[in-house]
């Protein structure tokens, strides 16, 4: 054992630390799930439904089986265990049984020596469909034939609603919902379907272990919940299914639900060969859940001097063909619909429905994005109606500790809404650049479409907030295990998914801080060596992993003090303060809280619009975000910049187009995401107001910028054009004057 005093070479919590995974990533050496190769590996391919709604009359695999290089063709008949799965409700078939409910639903699987052989064999699987009328409209779904007459989400403590196709209906009644204000404004708003569009397509490698079990190396957000869904479908005990984190090329919620996990494992166990499945971009667009499209009806009442007195908010979300996480999104959309403002009265009615549209589930912001867009438009309308400065109006109503949310939950933790608003408002955008100027800095950019004549400038402002971690009574925990050697090194095991957000850095910073050691290694994430970390979702992973790693490190030090000179190995489970469900009838809390904590982001946006051509250019964005404690400031800024870009995309260009349930733009040619020419500079201010219940005072930082930026960008377009702009993404026709 060395006695030398060791100086820390790599940072503790709060320091700017380069990412350990950055050097292998810049060299092209980092192994993403799609890069994995093992000898004898086959390629899997998924046959998907070309119809949004159809009955399956027959599946003929005979020709496909005899194609060159083909080792297996599987249908639902070949599933040894449970034939359905789901993140929260097992309502989704692993492979379609007698019907398909969405365009792209998996129907059959092929494994072959070469991916092209697998694709060609897939074309020779003859599926006979009887097409059915798709339920393609979320409002009409409530009067259409029930797609899930067995009501999979019934009996889970939600409000009973007998209308067809209801996934979840919830009502929050707060105070007296009939109160009228001196002034009121109303509006109707729509949000289109957004895609996570992570760059690394769904991919994974399933390797049979020769003893009936399987190892799955996959790009996912939550290893243990994958295992608990995969094992019953394979009819295997949990221990025989080992999930390992393959390198993840972005996630943003789109990897919460299963993609290739069961499919790859079925093919691997059937052929007794390793099987790799990599989606192409088109398949990725159909192969994962999306952000819920929404329709929202709002009515805001205020006193003459600008205090909110009542908000009525009706929300309809299209959940698509299966439940995924729609029930939680329904609740989140409702919970944050008022924005970070206090109103003594509110009536919030939020419903998600099944349709034959693409399934929707988790995406960064999780329901709060949609209602922030509508709610912030309402606040601007209210300010205009009252003749009050929109920022003043927001300050006047800003939530603060001690205030009560519409669910009856009192805010006990950090809630620096006013600080965020003031800090963002104080950011000074650059002065308008005179004309003429290089076209690259005009709306339309390199398209060289304008000389600047019709260009108008607008400044918008918005504030958004959302919850950190899981809510409504979910048993939300994270495990970490620490091996501490007397020789002065430690090994941390934590199954937290590194999806690009930098949680591995957080884990190492926490361990180094707690242990006072620089020689700390992080073991590969897998299910076999450590308990669940929960999901890299809901802006929870930094908080939860920091809590678990801190506790495990402290326990390891305690144990080492008891047994000096010995290696210790301890595992600890961290839980955040307990939440409880909402009352299904009133939407009121049944305990102290339904949400654990909140984070706010305020944003100012400058945009230019060419009102002759309907083209936009976002010039500058300033953001002030409530981050609790910045574990690594550089990474926090990166989250704000990247999260802002995704919201900007929803405001200006991103929408999955469907026609009667068929996706018509499943490619990066037709589904546009912001490029280097679309993103303005983002100036960010980090507001550090420690969260009392969280380790080191941290909060999650990933979602708040995405929640608010759509609303803030559209506010700037409204200011530039004077148009209402009630729908995102905003189309050129909407802003041509």
């Amino acid at each position: 054992m060395t006695q030398a005093v060791r100086t820390l070479q790599i940072g503790r919590v709060g320091e700017l630390v380069p990412r350990l995974d950055a050097p292998p990533k810049v060299k092209g050496e980092f192994a993403y799930a799609s890069d994995l190769v093992v000898p004898g590996m086959l390629w899997g391919h998924t046959v998907r439904s070309p119809h949004p709604h159809a009955r399956i009359l027959s599946i003929d695999i005979a020709e496909a089986v005899s194609m060159p290089g083909v080792h297996a063709v599987l249908t639902h008949d070949d599933i040894p265990g449970q034939k359905t799965y789901g993140l929260e409700f097992a309502d989704q078939p692993v492979l379609a049984i007698d019907r398909v409910l969405y365009h792209g639903e998996p129907v059959a699987l092929v494994a072959a020596e070469h991916p092209e052989q697998a694709r060609r064999a897939a074309e020779r699987i003859h599926v006979s469909y009887e097409e059915l009328e798709p339920v393609a409209d979320m409002e009409r779904a409530l009067e259409s034939r029930d797609l899930h007459p067995d009501k999979p989400t019934r009996g889970h403590g939600y409000l009973d609603d007998d209308r067809p196709n209801v996934v979840r209906h919830m009502v929050i009644r707060h105070g007296d919902p009939d109160v009228q204000g001196d002034v009121s404004v109303s509006g109707y708003y729509e949000v289109g379907i957004q895609d996570q569009a992570f760059l690394g397509p769904e991919s994974g490698l399933a390797v049979p272990d020769g003893e009936g079990g399987v190892d799955i190396y996959v790009a996912t957000q939550w290893l243990h919940v994958d295992r608990s869904q995969v094992a019953p479908c394979l009819n295997l005990p949990l221990e025989q299914v080992r999930i390992h984190l393959g390198g993840v090329g972005g996630a943003f919620g789109g990897r919460e639900d299963l993609s290739m996990q069961v499919h790859g494992a079925l093919l691997a166990l059937h052929t007794n060969r390793p099987v790799k499945i990599v989606y192409n971009r088109e398949e990725s667009f159909t192969g994962h859940v999306h952000r819920h499209p929404a329709r929202m009806w709002c009515e805001h009442h205020a006193t003459r001097d600008g205090k909110l007195v009542n908000v009525r908010f009706k929300i309809l979300l299209d959940g698509g063909a299966y439940a995924s996480s729609s029930t939680a999104v329904t609740s989140n959309a409702a919970s944050f619909s008022l924005g970070p403002y206090e109103s003594p009265n509110a009536l919030i009615d939020s419903t998600s429905v099944y349709t034959n549209n693409p399934p929707c589930g988790a995406m960064r912001g999780f329901g709060a994005v949609q209602t922030c867009f509508a709610g912030e438009a309402q606040m601007d309308k209210l300010a205009a109606e009252l003749g009050i400065d929109p920022i003043e109006l927001r300050l006047l109503n800003a939530l603060k500790p001690g205030d009560v949310l519409p669910t009856g939950q009192a805010i006990t933790g950090s809630m620096p809404v006013a600080e965020c608003i003031r800090a963002a408002a104080a950011l000074e955008p650059p002065a308008a650049e005179p004309l003429p100027r290089d076209v690259i800095r005009l709306p339309g950019g390199a398209g060289n479409t304008t000389n600047g004549d019709g260009v108008r400038r607008g400044v918008g402002f918005a504030v958004g907030f959302k919850n950190i971690a899981y809510s409504e009574g979910f048993d939300d925990y994270c495990a970490a295990r620490v091996r501490l050697s007397p020789d002065g090194w430690a090994e941390v095991h934590c199954a937290a998914a590194e999806v690009g957000q930098g949680v591995t850095g957080v884990i190492l910073q926490v361990a180094r801080t707690e242990l006072g050691l620089d020689d700390v290694r992080l073991a590969p994430g897998q299910t076999a060596t450590v308990e669940s970390a929960g999901s890299a979702s809901a802006s929870r992973m930094t908080w939860m992993a920091a809590g678990a790693v801190r506790d495990a490190c402290r326990a390891a030090l305690d144990e080492q003090a008891q047994r000096p000179g010995e290696e210790v190995d301890v595992e600890r489970i961290y839980r955040h303060p307990r939440t409880t469900p909402l009352d299904p009838e009133t939407g009121q809390i049944t305990g102290e809280r339904s949400h654990v904590a909140f984070a706010t982001c305020a944003m100012k946006v400058v945009a230019e619009v060419d009102v002759d051509l309907g083209l936009t250019r976002v010039v500058w964005i300033g953001a002030a975000q409530d981050v609790g404690k910045a574990v690594n400031p550089q990474q926090v800024e990166g989250q704000i910049e990247g999260g802002t870009a995704q919201g900007l995309g929803l405001a200006l260009m991103e929408e999955i187009q469907t026609r009667d349930g068929l996706i018509t733009n499943a490619s990066f040619t037709d589904y546009l995401i912001p490029t280097a020419l679309d993103m303005p500079p983002v100036e960010s201010v980090l507001i550090e107001d420690p969260e009392p219940d969280a380790p080191y005072g941290v909060k999650g930082v990933g979602e708040p910028p995405t929640v608010v930026s759509t609303a803030a960008v559209v506010a700037a377009l409204r200011a530039a054009t004077g148009r209402d702009l009630r729908r995102v993404p905003v189309r050129p026709d909407d802003i041509c004057l």
């Binding site: 810049v26 800024e637 910049e641 999260g643 020419l677 983002v682």
Partner: protein
């Protein structure tokens, strides 16, 4: 068919099916998985490589077309075990999150700085507009390019 390609200065051979892209051959046949497969239709730039010194999307080039030619991939930018200045700048600036776009952006940036050692901000944005990044919002990537230009 058998192809011979000079990759990062060394000759490599592979048996390819005529329909295979250079990207597929690099990743699956030749042992260079650094170039990434994010769209495979030339929209995202994740597979950017230099073909005889010109920046191309490897997904849009047939493996057969590269027969007898020089290819530089992201793996080839490392010299004597040292990161290329562009790679180092990406690490230092925090320009890497999930990193799936990074190899393509590193190759595209190296190409830009070779053509234009001190690019303006507009030049940087235009040069990298064919490389999609979903994580970073590009701000730290621009920082990295400016830092690499100074290095």
């Amino acid at each position: 068919m058998r192809i011979t390609v000079r990759i990062n200065g060394e000759e490599h051979q592979a048996d390819c099916w005529e329909g295979e892209s250079l990207l597929f051959a690099l990743r699956e046949k030749l042992g260079f998985p650094g170039s990434k497969n994010a769209c495979e239709q030339g929209e995202c730039g994740s597979c950017s490589v230099l073909l005889d010194g010109s920046l191309v999307c490897a997904c849009l080039v047939l493996a057969a077309q590269a027969d007898g030619h020089d290819v530089t991939t992201v793996e080839g930018l490392v010299e004597n075990g040292e990161l290329h200045p562009v790679q180092q700048a990406f690490v230092d600036a925090g320009a890497v999150q999930c990193g799936f776009c990074t190899p393509g952006l590193v190759v595209a940036t190296a190409d830009l700085l070779r053509r234009s050692p001190h690019p303006s901000d507009d030049e940087i944005r235009e040069a990298l507009s064919g490389n999609l990044c979903r994580c970073t919002g590009y701000a730290k990537i621009f920082d990295a390019v400016r830092a690499a230009a100074r290095a």
